[in-house]
């Protein structure tokens, strides 16, 4: 019984990872690609590690806390990298693909303000 659950979860994780790599190829720019690269993958990793944990717990009677810690660390680090990649790309001047961009004007104003205060 538990094997079926584990197989389904591993399969779901694999499919999610496949979809995110597909998104990595298909999406138009850095920002949308960082969506695919950092997040659908986290759910895939969650599924795979959790099913491994369940398998070892129920079949081999071994509670492996390392797997749970792995999930926690992936979930702590993935959003930070995604945020940093998007942020530094924007500050480098990479143009986003869409039309709506409410950040550009505010960032420009902020830059001018810091430039003025450093001159004075």
């Amino acid at each position: 019984m538990i094997e079926i659950v584990v197989v389904v979860m591993v399969l779901a994780g694999t499919v999610l990872s496949l979809i995110s790599s597909l998104g990595f190829l298909r999406l138009p720019d850095v920002y949308t690609r960082s969506h695919a690269a950092t997040k659908s993958i986290t759910l895939g990793i969650l599924f795979i590690l959790l099913s491994t944990f369940l398998y070892f717990m129920f079949v081999h009677n071994q509670v492996s806390v390392r797997l749970l810690l792995g999930i926690i660390f992936v979930f702590l680090t993935a959003p930070v990298t995604g945020h940093l990649i998007a942020r530094s790309a924007y500050r480098f001047g990479v143009k986003p693909a869409g039309i709506t961009d409410e950040l550009a004007a505010d960032l420009e104003r902020e830059k001018r303000k810091t430039a003025e205060s450093s001159q004075a």
Partner: protein
């Protein structure tokens, strides 16, 4: 609250020493026992029992996993659709979070739910700049997610 958690860990540790069995199961039993002892002596602590915070933390985790599933499905569908029909963009979002812990928690959670990446934060004005994968269809759901997360975070942190 930190004091209570440390005490609870100490009780679990002593339980493990008494049994001379260094396994996960002994630790969990000791921890539950310690939680029970602290709960029954909660009147003598200056702060309320930490179980309530733990419960709201569990609720936050549950809410987060639910959002993760739902929005993962939405983003996956948009990726595998034969014709890519998305309109990405960056929009402003007001937030009620003030302290650094609350801000970074909300930003991390928002970035982890697929479909939105927090790009910049202006903490003084309480504004987050969010990059969304498809602005017209997702803006409303992202704002709703933000409201839910904010309520849950306030319950945990304050």
């Amino acid at each position: 609250m930190t004091m209570q958690i440390l005490l609870n860990l100490l009780v679990a540790m002593i339980w493990m020493l008494l049994h001379d069995k260094w396994s996960m199961l002994t630790f969990v039993i000791g921890f539950i026992l310690g939680a029970f002892i602290i709960f029954s002596m909660r009147r003598f602590f200056p702060t309320p029992f930490y179980g309530r915070k733990l419960w709201s933390l569990a609720k936050l985790v549950g809410l987060f996993s639910l959002e993760l599933f739902v929005s993962s499905a939405v983003v996956s569908w948009q990726i595998i659709r034969p014709r890519l029909n998305i309109e990405p963009g960056i929009f402003k979002m007001k937030t009620r979070m003030r302290t650094e812990w609350e801000l970074s928690m909300l930003a991390n959670l928002m970035t982890l739910t697929p479909g939105s990446v927090v790009m910049e934060i202006a903490p003084d004005e309480g504004i987050m700049y969010v990059h969304a994968m498809d602005v017209p269809s997702m803006k409303k759901s992202i704002l709703r997610t933000r409201d839910r997360f904010e309520d849950a975070i306030i319950e945990v942190m304050r």
